[in-house]
Structures are given as C-alpha cells and as structure tokens.
C-alpha cells in the first residue's frame, strides 16, 4: 500500500483513491463544493486545493479531488499558500453572488457562508456590475436562484448518474453559465428533492420547505421513512410543533445519501387538521349488550360522544372481555397495521393472545404503489408500508398473509363479533369489503391517527394514536433491517403512542404491571422473539441491524 504524507504525518493510503476523500476519511477536513462521494469527479470548483508534491508531479497547488493517491505523495492542506488560494477561490465564487443570506433558505447550512467564515476574505475587490441570472422552477419541487449558483454541477451529475434522467445541465458559458432544464422537460424525476440537499449553496431550494423556518431554530430527530418498505434513513426537522422537512440520513446499506420524493413529502398528514387528539365512543354500552342479544347496531348509525382516554381504554377492554365471556375468545379478532412499529406489533399480538385469547389475527396494509428503480440502483418499493416484514415476524408469516381473509370470513360467518383494529395508515384506500364487514360488527375498537381514517368510520371506540414522528420505535424494512425512529414531536391532545395504549390494555387485562418505554418493550421483544434475539436499541445505533444478526456473522456484516 502506498505511503503518503499529509501535513507531515505518514499514512498508508489505498492507491488511486482521491486525496480529498482520503483526507476526509482521516478526519482532516478539506473544504470542497463540487466533490460528492456519490458522483463522478468534476474538479471544477477549485475549493479543495492543496499543496502537493511527489514522483512525476509538478509540485504546487492542485485540486485534491482529482489527485489520486500514489506512493511518496506529500500533501499539505493548511499551508499559507493553500489558505491564500482558498481565499481567492471564494472571492471569485462570490463576485456575482447577491449576498442575500437574510432571505435565503440555505442560510445556516450554506457552504458559502461557512467557508467564507472560515477561509474567506472579508471584502471583495469586484467593482463591476454583477451578472444576474434566472430564478425559476426547474422541476415540480425545486426552484433555482441562479444568482447564488456556483456551477459546481452536483445537481447535473446527480440527475445524470443517480436518477438517470439528465434533466438539468449548464447552459450558456463563462460567467453567464447557469443551470437550467430543457424547455418543457422539467426535473420531475422521483429523486428530485435530493438536488436541493446536495446543492452546497442556496441555489436549488425545495419549494416544500421554502420560507418555512430559519434552519437554526429547528429541532431534529433521527428517524426512518415510513412510506415504503425500503426504510430510508432520514432526519425529521421540526419547528413549533410541526414537521417542516424530512432530510436523508446517510446509510450505505439502505438509501446511501438519498430519499425519494414520495417519502420526502409524505409528512403533511402528521400536522393535518384531521388529526385525532381526543378519544371518542359511540353506543358502546348498548353495543355490548345488544350484540350479545344478537341485535347489533352498526357503528355508523350512532352518535359520537367524547370520552377520556382512560375511559375509552376501559370501555375497550371491558367490552372485548364481555364478548369473550359471552361468546368465547373466538368471537374477538385483531387487525394489526403494517404501519405499527415492531414494539407495537409485539404488544398487539400479546394483548390479543394473552389478554383476549383471540384465535384470529390479521394485518391491514397500505395498497401497493408503483415500484421504481433508478440508474444508481436506488429503489422505491411497491410495498408502501414501513413494517410489513416486522409484522411477518411478530404476528407470524401466516397471520400477516392470510389472517385478514380469515378474519373477514369469520365476520361474514357470524363467528367473529368484535374486532380491535389498528390503522394509522395515511392515504389508505382499504378494500371496501373490509369496511363493509367491519360495519356489520357489534363492536369495533380502533387505534388511529385521523378523524376521517377509514377504520374510524366503522368504530365504536376510537383510541387516538401517534404518527411515526411522535413516538419512539423500530421498523423492520424489506431486507430485514431493524431501524429506529426517534420521537420528534408530542402527539396531539391526549393521543398517545400505540405502544402505550396497547400496554394500558394489557394492564387492564391484568397481564402487565406497568407501561414501559419503547426501549423496554424492545428488550422484552428481543428476549421473546427469536428473530430479534440479541438486538437492543444500543446496538441498533443510528444505522440499524439485520434480523438474525446476533446468530449469524454473515448477516451482522450486512
């Protein structure tokens, strides 16, 4: 392996690797704009300049992103002439820049700001008239402020190399160069939002986040995308109790650096006016007795009454228990949701099995969407649920696949009289046959997050749950990777994580002493469910771990 010297210190470095990435890997920061590890090297911004010398190399200043590691290479990243060159590069990059940071969304996370602060001069010698460029939409989600663009071509290369769609390019030349799309062919690929993330300056901005918040006032939680079974890692940025933005979080085993637009923008439902913040019931007392007398009143015919959360939980447990006593445990069935966390699915099954003794468990899930694959290999799955895989492990593969059908058959046959169902699936269009069947029932208790959720329309009791940003938990993605979501916000009103609600039902059933944190439930789950054996929140860390990792080193390496 070649030996190179960086700032006087020797390193073994892999031949051919670019010196910029090598320095970054060693924790030696070298400023850069156009270089991005996912993209081909362009070498156009000159910000990564270092002083280099070595065999066959004319010594001097050179761009480190285009400099391959070779034996006896010597590099200095902080020499006075390097500093001077950086200063010059920044001065050039800023000559036509409008310096409009006060109204720029990128402010606070802008590399022009940061590098100017760290490496720049405090004045410009440019007295000529600035060249001005277009501000326009270059795609459905993205707008360009051309005056801020430093023409690093990250966005161009992203569209070419990652999305494979090539909508953006540099047009014109010299100081008139600017990013544009071909007229009539906007950047509408399903990865377009990533261009705003990788644009190092405030040139490409996300219209969804435009003027929503100054970034330094936002709070951030690490989480996972729930919108499909890929389970892209992301950050949830919130401000004043609302999700403002989802941003990708690097995980090379899952999403590399990216999020798709379908997942990225699927957060509005968390703060929609239809969120359930209260518990409510309708006709529960009559329902129980009437049903047992075989004259059930279907829920939609009844008026809602407000109810405390504790009251709703108690009524849920008591009513289900009455059915069990009157009709046997087979009269009660459970429908879990592929949007519940692993912890919640585990608790759901536990309550149905231990609390009720129910025979039938099924799974409801968002209808399939279209699958997409991109040039870089990035995929969007047709399975638009975060945790179908977890449900297969925790409810049983059979229940997850055929349970729903058995529950429906049981309802139609009159054997099943009451159901506890979990929804919480935004944009769900359930099979009308499911709602028709549930509508017939004497008692339906529902865990959900929206007033107008399909399951709420057939419920007798509604227990308000939490969306994924409002709770701690884990999802298991399609590849079997268990990944953590961290709570970014409190749920609205009296709503609570389904994990808490299900534990309270277990307490009411006398099967649990107290409500544990999601972490506590996960420890319990890992101890009881073999597929999860050996996993804990601590070693899931920020990147997750695959099922079976503890038992199989080959899996652990994934």
């Amino acid at each position: 392996m070649p030996t190179i010297k960086v700032n006087g210190k020797e390193y073994d470095a892999p031949a051919g690797k670019n010196v910029l990435q090598f320095c970054l890997d060693q924790g030696l920061y070298v400023p850069h704009y156009c270089y991005h590890p996912a993209l081909t090297i362009a070498g156009n911004c000159r910000m990564c300049i270092v002083k280099g010398s070595g065999p066959g190399l004319r010594p001097g200043l050179m761009t480190s992103c285009t400099l391959p590691v070779q034996d006896k290479l010597e590099v200095e990243t902080e020499a006075p002439d390097v500093q001077k060159a950086r200063e010059g590069v920044l001065e050039f990059l800023l000559i036509n820049h409008p310096l409009d940071c006060p109204v720029c969304d990128q402010a606070g996370e802008c590399y022009l700001q940061d590098y100017s602060f760290k490496y720049g001069r405090d004045r410009s010698r440019f007295v000529e008239k600035k060249v001005t460029k277009h501000t326009k939409d270059v795609g459905r989600n993205i707008r360009i402020w051309g005056n801020r663009c430093i023409v690093c071509t990250r966005c161009v290369r992203f569209c070419e190399e990652v999305a494979g769609t090539g909508e953006l390019n540099v047009v014109e030349r010299g100081d008139h160069s600017i990013i544009d799309n071909f007229p009539g062919l906007p950047m509408d690929n399903l990865l377009s939002g990533n261009t705003a993330d990788i644009c190092p300056v405030g040139a490409l901005l996300d219209k969804d986040f435009l003027y929503q918040a100054r970034v330094w006032y936002m709070e951030t939680a690490d989480s996972v995308c729930p919108t499909c079974s890929v389970g892209c890692n992301l950050k949830v940025d919130t401000y004043q109790g609302q999700v403002k933005r989802l941003r990708p979080r690097e995980n090379q085993a899952v999403n590399q650096w990216w999020l798709c637009d379908i997942g990225r923008y699927n957060h509005k439902f968390t703060s929609a006016p239809n969120r359930l913040g209260l518990a409510k019931t309708r006709g529960v007392a009559t329902a129980a007795t009437a049903a047992i007398a075989a004259t059930a009143v279907s829920a939609p015919a009844l008026e809602w009454e407000r109810c405390s959360l504790d009251g709703a939980l108690a009524r849920t447990w008591e009513t289900l228990d009455k059915f069990v006593r009157a009709e046997g445990a087979g009269a009660v069935a459970g429908l879990a949701s592929a949007w519940l966390s692993n912890e919640e699915l585990f608790l759901f099954r536990k309550f149905m099995k231990l609390g009720i003794g129910a025979l039938d468990l099924g799974l409801v899930a968002h209808q399939d969407g279209e699958a997409h694959a991109f040039k870089s290999g990035f995929k969007i799955h047709a399975d638009r649920n975060p945790n179908r895989r977890g449900a297969q492990e925790l409810l049983g593969a059979d229940a997850a696949k055929d349970g729903l059908k058995r529950v429906l058959d049981g309802i139609r046959a009159g054997r099943i009289k009451a159901v506890l169902a979990a929804g919480g699936i935004p944009g769900w269009e359930p099979d009308p046959a499911l709602l028709a069947a549930l509508r017939k029932l004497a008692f339906v208790a529902v865990l959900d997050v929206a007033e107008d959720a399909p399951l709420v329309s057939v419920a007798h009791v509604v227990l308000p749950g939490a969306t994924w940003v409002e709770k701690d938990g884990t999802f298991t993605n399609a590849q079997g990777r268990v990944q953590r979501c961290q709570r970014a916000l409190p749920p609205p009103g009296v709503a609570a994580p389904e994990s808490d609600l299900l534990q309270q039902l277990l307490v009411l059933a006398g099967k649990r002493e107290k409500v544990l944190s999601a972490q506590g439930v996960f420890a319990e789950l890992a101890a009881e469910v073999p597929a999860f054996a050996g996993l804990s929140y601590r070693d899931l860390g920020g990147q997750g771990k695959c099922l079976g990792a503890a038992a199989d080193p080959a899996v652990a390496a994934r």
Partner: protein, 157 residues
C-alpha cells in the same frame, strides 16, 4: 413535419460516428449537420439530435448554448460575429461593434426587425494577425474599419 434527417444526412451521420471514439463525441459535427439540414437549431432539432446521440436534451441545450456559432431559429439571415478577444480588442474591435450597433439600431445579441442581421460578440476566431475581424456567416473579414464594415454590409445580397 417531424424533424428528421434525410437519407443523405443520415448516412453522413453514420459516417461521423465512425470517426469518433464515442457517440457523444460526435455531438458537435452532428449539430453542424442538423444546422445544414434544418437551417437552424431550435428545440425540436436539439431533441432530435439528443435522441440520435443518446444524451439528454438538456445536455444538447448546454452544448448549443455554450457555443456562439450554431445558427438558432431567432437569428437573422446574416450573423455578424465580431471578435472581442484581446488582440482584436487591442486593435479596436469595440469601435467596430459600436459602429454596427449604431448602423443596425440593435444591441449585441439582437436581430434587426427585418430579420436580416444578428449582431454577436464572440471569442477569438483565430485570425488575430489581421485584427480586428468579424465573421459574416461563414465568411471572415479582416482589418476592419467602420468604412470597410459599411462596404461589406452594403455588398451583401
């Protein structure tokens, strides 16, 4: 009518491909070919060429807009390209441009109302020894003075 090469141009394009290491490398001469065939290069022509070469239309737009020498649909019958790079600048090209602006009543980058002339300032056209110079379509004119420019323009058909 859909934009499409004649058989002759198509054959010429195939021949061009054999002259370059990659399809993409044949983009510039293919655009020239398109210019000859279609008269100028507009959006439809760019899309057509993009399809032929196998690059995105945005890529072709980038190339066409980078160069000053491709004829665009909005251009006049005569494109006057006045070189403005250093040797020509030292020999007074600014005077030539100013004269043309006044004579034609347009700014640099504009076309006269009668669609006869388009005025452009361009980079070095490789005739520095006879600066200042301009190109009228494909024809070079050297050692320009305002009077000479008048004669050239007046002599155009």
């Amino acid at each position: 009518m859909p934009v499409q090469f004649s058989e002759k141009s198509r054959a010429r394009f195939e021949w061009l491909l054999t002259r370059y290491p990659t399809r993409q490398a044949a983009l510039l001469p293919t655009l020239r070919l398109a210019e000859e065939e279609f008269g100028s290069i507009g959006l439809e022509e760019m899309k057509y060429v993009a399809g032929l070469i196998g690059v995105s239309p945005a890529h072709v737009l980038g190339v066409v807009s980078f160069y000053t020498h491709y004829r665009r649909p909005e251009h006049g019958k005569y494109i006057l390209q006045v070189c403005s790079t250093l040797p020509c600048a030292l020999r007074g090209c600014e005077r030539i441009t100013d004269h043309l602006k006044k004579k034609l009543g347009i700014k640099v980058g504009e076309t006269t109302k009668d669609k006869r002339f388009t005025l452009k300032k361009v980079e070095c056209l490789a005739a520095c020894d006879r600066a200042p110079m301009m190109q009228v379509n494909d024809q070079d004119h050297y050692d320009l003075t305002p009077e000479k420019v008048d004669r050239i323009l007046d002599g155009l058909p």
